[in-house]
């Protein structure tokens, strides 16, 4: 029994998110099992040089924040909100408030309580900019096997 738990301690997976033509962000996901009932689903964005994506807590009225939407299911419950590392904060003269963003790479995490082994469906909507240009907001969908 102990052996089984140990081998399940970490089960990770990743992939290149579906074809993203002309997009400077590559998304991948991973799943970390913290105990037999709970997992942390991780979404990693790797950005090309000079590009940044905005925080999930970016104030409305300026650049669109990164948002995660999860399909509701009887098979799991979300525990809390999406957690992100501390973003870079920069005051904007245009909007008169702080812009919060990430450069290079960032991992967003969502804790999930599992009822049974299933597939978690998630969609991330995000926009990506450099100092000189922005890409129109886009969505990437994930089907994450959990459990």
């Amino acid at each position: 029994m102990k052996k089984i738990i140990l081998s399940l301690a970490v089960m990770l997976m990743a992939f290149m998110a579906s074809a993203q033509i002309s997009n400077p962000v590559t998304w991948s996901y991973g799943v970390k099992k913290i105990n037999p009932k709970e997992v942390v689903v991780m979404f990693k964005a790797v950005m090309d040089k000079d590009w940044h994506i905005y925080s999930t807590n970016q104030q409305a009225g300026g650049p669109q924040k990164t948002t995660f939407a999860f399909a509701t299911s009887k098979d799991y419950q979300l525990l809390g909100k999406v957690v992100e590392p501390k973003p870079i904060a920069e005051y904007s003269d245009v909007y008169k408030f702080d812009l919060l963003y990430f450069k290079n790479a960032v991992v967003f995490q969502q804790k999930v309580k599992l009822v049974k082994k299933t597939v978690l469906k998630a969609t991330v909507t995000y926009m990506v900019c450099t100092d000189k240009e922005c890409k129109q907001a886009t969505e990437v969908s994930f089907n994450v096997p959990v459990g």
């Binding site: 301690a9 990770l12 990743a14 990693k44 669109q64 129109q136 089907n143």
Partner: protein, 391 residues
């Protein structure tokens, strides 16, 4: 019944039908075996013949690995080795994955999991190509390593930006090698996969050169068709073509058509309220408008704010750009995400994928300039052009 036989016949006549079958009825087996030391289990991630994402986990007994599955053409995959009870930290996890190309047939994978560089893969032509490319890039990566490490340690935002600039020459060299690889390996799956990520960083001419070098077989693949579609879209908005017409209701609820502006020079400015660099550029655009409007220049702002009209109106007011015309692009996110065409979307007609982008149209309705994105000139180029045209 007759139809069924006909399809059967078609399948016999076209042995390569599988290459563009989306449903994946035709499967080919791959087998990956070999001897791998220093690991208890192997994990393999790939997309199978039916388009399903597969993660395969197998124990390694007596150093022997044995993996098999179904694919219908060479596919990009990831392999990861681990030991029983081992906890791979999130940071290390991404480094521990090895990119490989699976191909139908028999392949071998051997080496030591404790040194990923020792892994040898045989039986996959695409893998060989990927390794050739990586071998050319490796010395540059080694050269840039100290700079990357310095960047990793630097906490100061400004200083980090300076260090990042030092990476530019290395990245340019990698880009050049990769482009040469694309040209030298036109019918490689590696080229086709990588083009998806490189298109946005390449000039249109280079992208076209790579696409045109694909043979008929490769051009039928879904990835190549998508590439061709993207290239065509960008081409529509390039100088030399007639500007695509559009009719919208403007910000003041009045009808507006591009054709109303025949006889004048027009800048179609693609922007959005949420686009920081666009907003920063508005004072410059106001100066151009004030200088040249009386000499025959009009501006039509096309905003990507379809889902937030009040943000659009607020930005126009705040930036004092209500002096020129404003319409929305006509974005429909559902259609866009399903990759379906949307004839109402002005951005699609001009192949716009990045903001701000400005299209300059002459009095006859022909595109004579493109500024801002990867395929366009700079703001200075626009200034120079207007100075020549409208003295």
């Amino acid at each position: 019944m007759r139809t069924k036989n006909f399809i059967g016949l078609l399948l016999l006549l076209f042995p390569y039908y599988h290459s563009f079958a989306q449903t994946g009825q035709i499967k080919k087996q791959f087998v990956l075996n070999g001897t791998v030391k220093s690991a208890d289990s192997v994990l393999l991630y790939y997309t199978d013949a039916s388009g399903k994402y597969i993660h395969l986990a197998k124990p390694i007994l007596g150093h022997r690995i044995f993996l098999k599955g179904f694919i219908n053409e060479p596919v990009n995959a990831r392999v990861l080795f681990k030991n029983k009870g081992e906890i791979i930290s999130e940071r290390k996890f991404w480094e521990r994955m090895t990119e490989i190309y699976l191909e139908p047939g028999q392949m071998t994978l051997s080496g030591s999991a404790s040194d990923l560089k020792s892994l040898k893969i045989t039986g996959s032509k695409s893998q060989k190509e990927l390794e050739d490319l990586n071998a050319h890039i490796a010395p540059i990566r080694k050269e840039m390593q100290p700079v990357l490490e310095a960047l990793d340690k630097e906490k100061d935002h400004e200083k980090a930006a300076e260090i990042r600039d030092q990476l530019e020459p290395y990245n340019d060299r990698i880009k050049k090698i990769t482009y040469d690889f694309f040209i030298g390996h036109p019918n490689s799956y590696v080229t086709m996969d990588m083009m998806r990520f490189y298109l946005s960083r390449m000039k249109l001419d280079s992208a076209k050169r790579v696409y045109n070098s694909f043979n008929a077989q490769m051009k039928k693949k879904a990835a190549a068709r998508e590439l061709s579609k993207e290239i065509n879209k960008i081409e529509l908005g390039m100088p030399g073509n007639m500007a695509a017409g559009f009719s919208k209701t403007d910000i003041n609820d009045k009808p507006l058509s591009l054709s109303d502006f025949k006889g004048k020079y027009v800048i179609v400015d693609f922007w959005a309220s949420w686009c920081v660099p666009c907003r920063k550029g508005n004072p410059h655009l106001i100066r151009l408008y004030n200088t040249y409007n009386s000499k025959g220049l009009e501006i039509i702002g096309v905003s990507d704010d379809d889902n937030n009209h009040s943000a659009w109106k607020k930005a126009v007011e705040q930036d004092k750009i209500g002096i020129w015309h404003h319409v929305l692009r006509g974005l429909n996110m559902d259609l866009r995400m399903k990759n379906l065409p949307n004839p109402e979307d002005i951005s699609e007609k001009y192949g716009i994928s990045s903001l701000p982008t400005k299209i300059l149209i002459d009095p006859a309705g022909k595109i004579i300039g493109r500024y801002g994105d990867n395929n366009g000139g700079s703001d200075q180029d626009l200034d120079k052009k207007l100075k020549e045209l409208l003295k």
